[in-house]
Amino acid sequence: MDPHRVILGEADLEGHNTDWLGMVRGASKVLLKPRNTEEVSTILKYCNDRRLAVCPQGGNTGLVGGSVPVFDEIIISTSLMTEIESVDRLSGVITCQSGCVLEALDQYAAEYGLMVPLDLGAKGSCHIGGNVSTNAGGLRVLRYGSLHGSVLGVEAVLASGEIVNCLSAMKKDNTGYDLKHLFIGSEGTLGIITKIAINCPPRPQAVNLSFLGLQTFDDVLTTFREAKDKLGEILSSCEFIDSSSMQCVEENLKLKPPIEPHPFYMLIETSGSNSSHDEEKLSSFLDYALGSGIVTDGTVATEPSRMQHIWSLRERIAEALVKDGYTYKYDISLPHSEFYKMVEDMRNHLGTGVIRCCGYGHIGDGNLHLNITTQEFDKNVLNQIEPAVYEWTAKVNGSVSAEHGLGFKKRNFMHYSKSLGAINLMKQLKSLMDPNGILNPYKVLPET
């Protein structure tokens, strides 16, 4: 490899050794930037023969410490693997290398009247390969489903350097075990994803966004149900924000919500092919919501500039929380009936020892982002939260990681959501595909 693609300096590696939240730090001495699958294969074969551990890295926007080395693993960055191989306008399938930045890929898709069925706050930095290997969720899972559905094909390199080509661009392919699913969501522990084929829906011609203010969490749930009933196929996102999260965005980022303070807020987005049809539906839904009193105030935006402002209130909460100091971050799936009780219980449990305990997230998917902040990391606070938060989640049959993955931070809590039999099979798969354990070690699978 030419010297530009081998990064050695400590200062240059700083950003690659530390995660975005500033929560974990590794001590890697070298980062490699392969350009193609063959180079990834050569690197892995070399490392496997010499028992050298590697840490695959995309945009390094992961939230569970999965994308940075734990000790001195060699970082393999996908940042130069940005080629888009093909676009099929008819089927909507885009085939590309794993280092394409999500937003850039989406802009490329836009030129063909398509959209990438995945949108999240980190879209400007995250790589599609990282999204796939963490099975990232985001704002539109409600409409387009998870990446296990949208990703049609994956090409990955195993620890041995062997290239596994499952890069089918066909919607249907029932020939044997569907191996691509092993690479989706396994966080680089079974192989490094080098290419993907993703099914992109037509880009909506008409998008409307409403921002609503509500008095109780029961009203939030009722509004969600009514939105599903009354908006039907055009509903493309349903998010909720509590007042504490909104205060954080106001205080730390100086953003202003478009309506007066409310205990709860919701963002309801519609996407369709005909603006007058969509606006009529949305307007009759809002008429109903306002008339019946489940929603007490709100606004609607159809202009891209206004929609961007409203979305930033939701998408930039994570960034605002970081400015508080240290964030204890939990990403859990819960049944709707228990959804906000978790935040309230935790808030009562922690009392005044924290700056804030807030909840927001993808109400449409039953996915809560529970966040607690303190000025600095405090072991006592952590002990008060964990494992209580996981026990609480397990009690209602939720998931301790809805969309962020387990990474380094959450791996020892896997058993709260997975049976012993399932964990054992995962371990067997790991030793089959990566017998020397060089791929992203100390991540995903529990220590014991």
């Binding site: 309506i259 306002l290 105030d297 709100g298 606004t299 202009e303």
Partner: protein, 254 residues
């Protein structure tokens, strides 16, 4: 004294949309492109609504010249708090040839027709950047003008207006009736709330044509060519500082 306020609001391509030049090079693509109210006009509407909330204004009338969709822009103004609207119909084809002088004549006629004492407009529209409508309307009406306003106070039939000028602020006093153009820092426009959006649907929008006001909109100039700004060349990476300096010298930067 309670003022009747007329506010101009133009429908323009939303600022978050990427502008594309039309293949015939005589304009930009507007079909199927998201439009919104000119941001400076939004500030003008907000200021007028605040004057009404302070009981300085008794009625706020939003005016827009444009195709049928201009009514959406007027609806937005009504949802923000304007009392009624006037839509001066200009067919989409003629819209791109509508000049600030035409708009000024239309606004001046409407001011006379409505008996308004104050005209507030944005300092310029973000599509053609002309920055001329306020000034020309003031001339046509023979009214004083307070342009680029960043603060407006009203007392005894006089407006004290702080203007943003090069290198500082200028405070002037104008007698009402007057024309004011809004600058960016005058206020932060509100979002129309749902109850107000619903109410706005019932507010009245009068429709008329320029000819009804006796205004001739024959263009005074022809557009010869519209082109994209020159594309930026891709950057290169150099090995070391010496090469960097050599390259910079080669390209004449240092």
């Amino acid at each position: 004294m309670s003022l009747k306020v007329l506010v101009g609001c133009k429908r323009v391509i939303d600022y978050a949309v990427k502008i594309r030049v039309r293949p015939d090079k005589l304009g930009v693509v507007t079909d199927g492109v998201k439009h919104s109210m000119n941001p400076f006009d939004e500030i003008a509407i907000e200021e007028a609504v605040r004057l009404k909330e302070k009981k300085i204004a008794k009625e706020v009338i939003a005016v827009s010249c444009g195709p049928t969709q201009a009514q959406e822009t007027i609806r937005t103004a009504l949802a923000m708090g304007a009392d009624r609207g006037i839509h001066v119909e200009i067919p989409a084809k003629e819209m791109e040839k509508l000049e600030p002088l035409h708009v000024s004549k239309i606004l001046a006629k409407l001011v006379e027709k409505e008996g308004a004492q104050l005209l507030v407009v944005g300092k310029q529209a973000i599509d053609d950047d002309s920055n001329a409508t306020a000034q020309m309307t003031a001339a046509l009406l023979d009214w004083p003008q307070a342009t680029f306003a960043s603060k407006i106070e009203h007392k005894d039939g006089e407006l004290t207006v702080v203007r943003e000028i090069d290198g500082g602020l200028e405070t002037i006093k104008v007698k009402v009736p007057a024309v004011v153009s809004a600058d960016l820092r005058l206020n932060e426009p509100r979002y129309a709330t749902l109850p107000n959006i619903m109410k706005a649907k019932k507010k009245k929008i009068d429709k008329m044509k320029p000819a009804d006001l006796g205004v001739d909109t024959t263009p005074h100039f022809d557009v010869l060519n519209v082109s994209d700004p020159p594309a930026r060349d891709a950057g290169i990476k150099v090995e070391d500082v010496d090469t960097l300096i050599t390259k910079l010298k080669e390209t004449g930067r240092i």
